[in-house]
Symmetry: D2
Subunit: 335 residues, 4 copies
């Protein structure tokens, strides 16, 4: 059995999630994890099977035994790490977004291309069984031609204002997943965006020139139109729904719930809320995306979510931001 | 437009329901209503369009202009009224059950046969769009051969103990609708019954040698088996579900609800309970059964729910009662 | 029993619907129906209880016995009929939209005000039990403050191109119901609209400078945002859903269906599509709106859907049309 | 980290399932697997991490390093293996049923008691999140006192006739899970059973004095009544539903499905069938039961499903068999 020797850069919430998942993949060996705050996380690693801990990600870059890196560092560090890892010939799995700057992203893309390493972006929702099923239904024309794509995407609780300050804004941080879904399900590029939004969950967020409630209208290259609505706080849980409506019908993803139990009393019929947040909702999807990353390396095949997918989702986010600021629809920069 | 001149015998809850429904049928004229307590009901009739009120049902029997009678009197009066009405050449719509005695029922049946009048029994559920749809699915073999028939039938609140005393017992009063459903959906006779039951809603009911919670197993002539569960009190509303399970699939009737609204809060997802009771749940079915009764008279066609249907449902009820008393399965008396 | 003597102007699909409903209202007497094509409709009226048929609506206006008129004529005739009816002191129920011109509408409004007659607009959806329930939930703050209002409104089949030519366009003809719902549910005015749309169902519709697929973003005076999506053809039936999302939860109206039957076979679980179109879906709502119109006359109370409601919905439609033409968000004209 | 050294006896479908699950439990080391046909299964074990393969289960019994055995051998071998393993001081996880003989089961129970080893029975459904939730709702009296317990339990495809011949019959092989659920959910013993059944899926099964379609009525010690319906073939998938109905409401487990996708076309609304069979449906439950077995060993706590649970479920199965043969209700043998 071939074993992939892996380094993980950044051991925050998502980094730890990937480490826990890789622990159960018998063909993966997590050799080193780096994080500037690793000293404060020793406890977490006791049963983790990780061999080395370090504060300096360069220890990973410089380790010739490590063939693949998982980048879970803050977004503003992505570009240098990608470039160094690619230069060192390592395959790269990187969390979204690649960066906040289109120019830097393109530069990093070129470095990766030259190095000839695999690069997979962490748009985990592509690996959810529900969205994948609708993708297939749309691709097979079971609903005819796509006319309207609707995405309802709401978090159960807003991030801290500290997080907001470095998040790149709601479109780059949160809606970017929906922009990727729009491209993934439709099989088409988004050409124009109109965004409206406001701070209703927490007005304080305005101080960071950000919003927490948004509606974004999309025009696709294939003629379809779409709409995304986002909220930073759906108190009932992580609301992740999507509908593809076409000339021959409609395919809809409903929320996953904790159980299938219904309770009937004099108060009415009660059933479970959506699964609370991304860790619960996309648990299987996170495992699948990582597993397919290693498959792509092993078999030298295309990754299921590419650098280009990252670039295009970012450009839609940038157009949405501009639209919000100008109050007008904005064209998405083409490749 | 031909007009049906009608008399209603008995103006309790169900009698008033039929009167209200006939008021909106332009081809029906409710000439006379009889009830021993009619004096106390004057108010109700003010806007009812009924022409005459009387305490004596014979005023209806003896009125040659009246061509059809709707019998909503207490069960123990059904037999004499049916016989007199048939002898007077009037078409008859009668509420269930026909009587508590098989012998008397058969005698009345013969009188009706001789008179050559139409006789329709009030098994209203046959006229519900949901049950009718499943009946059709079963008849069309869309679920292949029927293997198991399940009926879940629960009232929202128990009747008064006074009512219980004259009800003929749960099987004759309540389950009889389910016995008819069993025959209607399966298209087969019930050959054997095993009943178990107890008084869980209100132990007082035991004083009347009755129960309020029951499970009844059925064996059908066509080889299928079935089960009915009954409760006199489902606090969440009138629970009226049914499933026909067969070699190629299953068809299920879910409850009708007041609205299609779902509310999601931190407490979970809440939707409406089943419609409260038979007046709400079978409103359309009551209208349809009466309308089809007049159609059968007008066109001289078969009624959709016959005297025989009433006899057979009663016999299943009698077998269930005997099974409960003896603790053994009991054969249903054949026609 | 007070009886309302009524004239109906226009006997097309919706006119006949109201006539059929009023036939079962015992306090309403439909004395006269006018329609230029009444000669070709004689058959329909045979069992309708309507007393007089005429080609000329002035026969209704000039009949002093008639106290209320139901205007179901084509939109371009609404203004003169409203004015004449009001001048003749008749109460008015009018189908939407009032007219295609804001100036004319305002003029008619003033005539009606002066005449002091009741005027109710035919926004039937307000009378649907589901939407009314969500309205109440929002008003009671059960979902906290409203953040996002979503309306999904799709017809099962497009109208003829002939109809399209005189419809005033999708926003005035179809979305106008959704604009009213937006105001009704939110309890707030719409301040700004951004519309995008295209001809995907039938490209021929472009010849009439119209579209058949639209997404419309709304900004409400109360700070909430909203989105409507429309299609002239949902092949699976009349899709009428709505969600009010707020700080404490969400309330959603799902589609009404023909039955509650589910069929499970090797092909999957199959249940019924939404009710086919407005006649099926809003049957009860049409009865309720008319009944409440007569109640308002009888008790001299406020009508449940006013002239102002008609004016404001039209202005949103006009803003949407301008937005589609200019590609920019447009402010809605205030009262 | 303490490591449990384990031997698995029997490597059929369920044995392999447990081996695959234990592979991902870092505190478990599967040292040896025995199966008479192990030679034909070499391929399966290549990536399984199992250290030794043997034809003779005594190699496991005699290995002092092995502290726990997982018994997945055919039922008729359970008793000797249990006795030998207990005598050798090994903790035991055993698949259901323990045996076909009440006397032998009791004997084995006494051996296990004397040896003081842990013994857990494989009633996997207790570990399903849905059933566990209803168990808790019933225990908390959220639905008041239990009145009726309904279990709908149907396999997607019948076993081979060869399997049937050695299965102990439908009640011992299949319904036994439902009998355990009845005790688990109700928190009460079953006192009396009445079973009816027939061979509708495959009449050939009658040759083995077995049936494939059954309805079983239960009387509980706590006064409640219950009913189970079983079929060896629900063509639409593994149907695993349950309802606990009580004085204050009802709690129902609906089926788990492959996805939450709904597709609407002119053919109606289509959604996914139940998960196909036990491997898919109870995947998480199988992991949880094994994990809790090792927890009980580690912490020396009570196992979540005991030898007594196995004995009582068997006795209900035996009573059901007798009821089917005699056509009468049968008392369940008390402990």
């Amino acid at each position: 059995m071939k074993v992939h020797v892996v380094g993980v850069i950044g051991a925050g919430r998502i980094g730890k999630l990937h480490i826990a998942n890789m622990k159960n993949m018998h063909k993966v060996r997590v050799k080193t994890v780096s994080d500037p705050f690793i000293d404060q996380m020793q406890d977490w690693f006791i049963n983790s099977c990780v061999e080395n801990l370090t504060k300096d990600y360069k220890d990973i870059i410089n380790d010739p035994e490590i063939k693949a890196v998982i980048i879970c560092a803050p977004t503003d560090l992505h570009i240098p790490i990608i470039k160094e890892a690619a230069a060192a010939g390592k395959h790269i799995f990187c969390e979204k977004p690649i960066s906040f700057s289109d120019e830097e992203t393109i530069e990093a893309y070129e470095t990766v291309q030259k190095a000839g390493v695999k690069f997979q972006l962490g748009f985990n929702r592509r690996f959810d069984r529900n969205f994948a099923k609708v993708k297939e239904i749309v691709a097979n024309k079971e609903i005819g031609d796509l006319h309207i794509l609707k995405i309802q995407s709401r978090d159960p609780e807003p991030p801290s204002l500290d997080y907001v300050a470095h998040s790149g804004g709601i479109f780059m941080d949160m809606s970017i997943h929906d922009f990727d879904m729009a491209r993934y399900i439709s099989g088409s590029e988004v050409e124009e965006v109109y965004a409206t939004g406001t701070a209703l969950v927490n007005p304080e967020i305005s101080k960071y020139e950000d919003i927490d409630t948004a509606i974004i209208t999309l025009k696709f290259a294939n003629g379809a139109i779409g709409v995304i609505d986002n909220s930073r706080q759906a108190v009932y849980g992580y609301d992740q729904q999507l509908e593809a409506f076409g000339s021959k019908g409609s395919a809809k993803v409903n929320n996953e719930t904790q159980s299938r139990v219904e309770v009937l009393t004099t108060d009415g019929v009660k059933s479970d809320n959506p699964l609370y947040f991304f860790l619960e909702r996309y648990n299987d999807a996170y495992i699948a995306e990582m597993s397919q990353f290693f498959d792509a390396i092993e078999n030298n095949t295309e990754v299921p979510c590419s650098f280009i997918d990252g670039i295009m989702a970012q450009r839609i986010a940038q157009a949405a931001k501009e639209s919000l600021l100008t109050g007008k629809p904005v064209k998405v920069k083409k490749l």
